[in-house]
């Protein structure tokens, strides 16, 4: 057995064993999609795949026939033909006809993807570095707004804790939509370009600052559908997942009502003074969700400046609030004023001023945040 035979055997065994091994453990094909459009796209994908496969088998069969039977070592005399206009025309026209065959279903599916008419619910999706904001638009102006952050802990990412089942794919507050309802997504971004993708809903739209793109879905079955940002948007591009819960209409209405009362409760809470321990506890939770990716789990810094011993955290409260609420222009430090409730803002500022050895003893109350915002 010479080297060539060994090498061929390796390739063949790899090709044969590879896919079977793979099928047992891992998904190797596109998600079939739970929506009608998703199913259409999947069908289109499989159609093109099989057309390519058939052409590929035919082309490679001819090639390998030549490789096996037309080899010099068999003592063949090479033919000398080198032109045939007829053949060239045939293999120009046949692929062209196949392409037309592909273009027809592709066009109708594309028109379907673009048909955003008659949606019952509008959700404004805004990409931020590195989270999503979901705003349920309401005709009376009583919009429900919240941010959806990565729920995976830094400890899981940095391998000190075991990774959970939905590692990097779960969020603190998912998008909730009702089933059997046409939902329109209005997609934009606050800073750089992001892209909102949920494979099983077959929705992918770039979130571009200054543009509002449209997409839609109508989910027939209840369930949790997960996705990720698919446009490079900076350091933590890989850490801004999407989680959509499709629930029954009743459940959706109840959820929306609860969100509205939560908003009222938050406004009320902002009027009350809180204890130090309480602020520190919720501040720590906010810090871990919002700040730790850039500023480090121990405030040691990273993409962002260190919090431990920082001039801002140890300096004037007003300056600290200013940075937290308005961000720092031209850096990844965003304006969190619109992202966090006043209570959470007060808590996290208090936490930053008293954790990691920053023992200022300052207590920042929600009312301070409200006052600061009002100037």
């Amino acid at each position: 057995m010479n080297f060539k035979t060994v090498a061929k055997a390796c390739v063949v065994s790899l090709l044969v064993s590879g896919p079977t091994w793979a099928l047992a453990q891992n998904q190797i094909n596109m998600a079939k999609g739970v929506t009608e459009v998703g199913a259409q796209i999947y069908g289109l994908h499989m159609l093109i795949f099989w057309i390519c496969a058939v052409i590929g088998v035919a082309v490679f069969a001819v090639m390998f026939y030549s490789i096996i039977y037309h080899r010099k070592s068999r003592g063949v005399t090479p033919a000398q033909f080198h032109d045939s206009t007829q053949v060239e025309i045939i293999w120009t026209i046949i692929p062209f006809l196949i392409l037309i065959g592909m273009a027809v279903p592709a066009t109708s599916t594309l028109l379907e993807v673009y048909n955003t008419d008659d949606a019952e619910i509008d959700i404004l999706i805004t990409g931020y570095q590195w989270k999503w904001k979901y705003e349920y638009l309401d005709e009376q102006g009583d919009n429900v707004v919240f941010f959806s952050n990565l729920a995976t802990s830094q400890e899981e990412i940095y391998n000190t804790d075991a990774k959970g089942a939905n590692y990097l794919l779960s969020v603190d507050e998912p998008m909730v939509i009702p089933v059997d309802t046409k939902v329109r997504f209005l997609v934009t971004a606050n800073d750089v370009i992001h892209s909102w993708w949920v494979p099983e809903l077959a929705v992918k739209r770039d979130a571009i600052p200054g543009f509002i793109n449209e997409a839609w879905t109508k989910v027939p079955t209840e369930g949790v559908y997960r996705g990720q940002c698919t446009e490079l948007c900076g350091a933590y591009h890989g850490f801004m997942p999407i989680e959509v819960h499709a629930v029954s209409r009743e459940e959706y209405d109840a959820w929306l009502a609860a969100k509205r009362s939560e908003k009222v409760a938050q406004t009320a809470a902002a009027q009350q003074a809180l204890g130090f321990e309480e602020l520190m506890a919720s501040g720590e939770a906010v810090y871990r969700a919002q700040c730790s990716a850039c500023h480090g789990a121990q405030g040691e810094g990273g993409v962002g400046n260190a919090i431990a011993g920082s001039a801002i955290a140890l300096g004037e409260v007003a300056k600290h609030l200013e940075v937290g609420i308005k961000g720092v222009a031209g850096t990844a430090m965003q304006a969190f004023g619109g992202q966090l409730s006043d209570v959470d803002m007060a808590a996290v500022i208090t936490y930053q001023r008293n954790a990691f050895g920053n023992n200022t003893g300052d207590i920042v109350q929600p009312a301070d945040v409200v006052n600061h915002k009002q100037g």
Partner: protein, 525 residues
């Protein structure tokens, strides 16, 4: 050949040379050095992706690696390698004594190393190297970019100037320096593909320069070309970039087509099938490349009419590309094939490039692309066409012509080992990426959810194998140069045709000082 005509001694030979062979050699070595550097970046990427979780590098540095890997491979490795090949081979193939503009030739090479030195130096700057991907979409590459972006812009400008000068030189050479009797339709296909490529380069490199200049203005001079807040348009950047970027991928692949069209007939011992249709197919691909750019942007929210136009135009490219593949296979049909290393790499090219072409066709279908876009499926696709396409054919070219360049034969057994290790490593690295992409793994992420773990580990192992096989290539080339068996005859491959095989091995410092006579039979093979 008196001493008067020989090369100068020492460093000045290389610094001041106007000889197309010396400049070709420098381009080839430079591009190989960049190939190793870009490969090292890829190894960092694959090492981090070996397992889920962050292990070796930080996410920001990971993005610097993907960015530099892409930039160095596209602009530093693949493009200069084919320019080097053009420098060496085009004059010898058309019976010219040198390139038409030899001093400019020297200049277009020598501005490249400083440009890449500048690009690589950004790694050591505050804020790190560019981390916005080789496609550098605004505003990530403008408002949100690290300060080193200015050096990146300057580097792109310089290498663009280098490419434009190199292209003008090739156009001038092919149009003016052909030996008497070498009509256009008698030129070897490699010369044809490069002539068309050079026109593409001259057309689109200024567009790239425009894009980076607008970035520079946005960053330093207060304009808002790409900033929505100032009334600009981030999508404009993508249109401008891809108006350059799509022809760019054909700039990379067309010379590769040319190489394969030289080598397959040689080892089939049969003339290339459909020479004229190959020329027309190359020209059609080049023309179509100008009207398909927005297929990279199906998800930006173009109007549906635009989306349909770009989908149909993109699908059309399958026709001339198909013609090329059919022609190569028909060339082999009823030939007398043998499988020396250059032919193996061409066959590897043929199989894997065809697979890359199929995935390209799948990607052209706009609604399906909503699911493929910016996933590992795209990464797999373009590595099948860029690596198994361009790099495999470039490797084939080195093995095919190195006896002509050095007068020494490479080790056939080592060449074959290099091929099989590359071929197997490449497929282990990139085939599973189709699966993870379809299953939903976005590209350019430093960490991934657990369902993708097995295939990523496999992919990393394949990448390490492929990477290691390139060191074997380097070793093989060095051994050939210093200790390869000397070849006696001018025509090393019995089936090879073309003027380059009528000069001695190694090719003397000056060839065709007197134009050769072209007879009708020996042309275009």
């Amino acid at each position: 050949m008196g001493a008067h005509h020989g090369p100068a001694k020492g460093m000045s030979r290389w610094l001041l040379t106007t000889n197309h062979k010396d400049i070709g050699t420098m381009y080839l070595w430079f591009s190989f050095a960049m190939f190793i550097l870009g490969g090292a970046f890829a190894m960092v990427i694959r090492a981090e992706l070996f397992q889920p979780g962050m292990q070796l590098v930080e996410p920001g540095f990971f993005n610097q690696m993907t960015t530099l890997h892409g930039l160095v491979m596209v602009f530093g490795a693949i493009m200069p390698s084919f320019v080097g090949l053009a420098n060496w081979m085009i004059p010898m193939m058309i019976g010219a004594p040198d390139m038409a503009l030899p001093r400019m030739n020297n200049w277009s090479f020598w501005i490249l190393p400083p440009s890449f030195l500048m690009l690589a130096s950004t790694l050591f700057m505050e804020g790190g190297a560019p981390a916005f991907g080789w496609t550098f979409y605004a505003p990530l590459s403008t408002t949100y970019a690290p300060p080193s972006v200015t050096f990146f812009i300057f580097a792109i400008h310089i290498l663009g100037v280098s490419s434009i000068m190199g292209s003008i030189n090739i156009i001038a050479t092919v149009m003016n320096m052909r030996a008497p009797g070498m009509s256009y339709m008698k030129m070897p296909l490699f010369v044809w593909t490069w002539l068309i490529t050079a026109f593409l380069l001259v057309a689109v490199m200024p567009v790239l320069a425009g894009a980076v200049t607008m970035m520079l203005m946005d960053i330093h001079f207060g304009t808002s070309f790409f900033s929505a807040a100032g009334g600009g348009d981030p999508v404009l950047f993508q249109h401008v970039f891809w108006f350059f970027g799509h022809p760019e991928v054909y700039i990379i692949i067309l010379p590769a087509f040319g190489v394969v069209s030289q080598i397959i007939p040689a080892f089939s011992r049969k003339p290339l099938f459909g020479y004229a249709s190959m020329v027309y197919a190359t020209a059609s691909i080049a023309l179509l490349s100008f009207i398909v750019w927005a297929h990279h942007m199906y998800t930006v929210g173009m109007p549906v009419a635009g989306e349909l136009f770009f989908m149909y135009a993109t699908m059309l490219i399958a026709v001339p590309t198909g013609v090329k593949v059919f022609n190569w296979i028909t060339t082999m049909w009823r030939g007398a094939l043998s499988f020396e290393t250059p032919m193996l790499f061409c066959l590897g090219f043929l199989v894997l490039f065809t697979l890359g072409g199929f995935t390209g066709l799948m990607l052209s279908i706009a609604p399906a692309d909503f699911q493929y876009h910016d996933t590992y499926f795209v990464v797999a696709h373009f590595h099948y066409v860029m690596v198994a396409g361009a790099v495999f054919s470039m490797t084939a070219a080195v093995y095919y012509w190195i006896p002509k360049w050095t007068g020494r034969m490479y080790s056939e057994s080592m060449g074959r080992i290099h091929f099989w290790v590359s071929f197997i490593g490449f497929n282990i690295a990139f085939f599973p990426q189709h699966f993870v992409g379809l299953a939903g793994m976005p590209r350019r992420i430093p960490d991934y959810s657990l369902q993708f773990a097995d295939f990523n580990m496999m992919s990393s192992i394949g990448a390490f194998i492929y990477g290691a096989s390139q060191l074997l290539f380097l070793y093989n080339v060095i051994v050939t140069i210093v200790a390869g068996e000397k070849v006696g005859e001018d025509k090393i491959w019995d089936g090879a045709e073309g003027l380059e095989w009528t000069v001695p091995c190694p090719a003397p410092y000056h060839t065709f000082e007197v134009p050769p006579k072209i007879d009708a039979v020996s042309a275009h093979a």
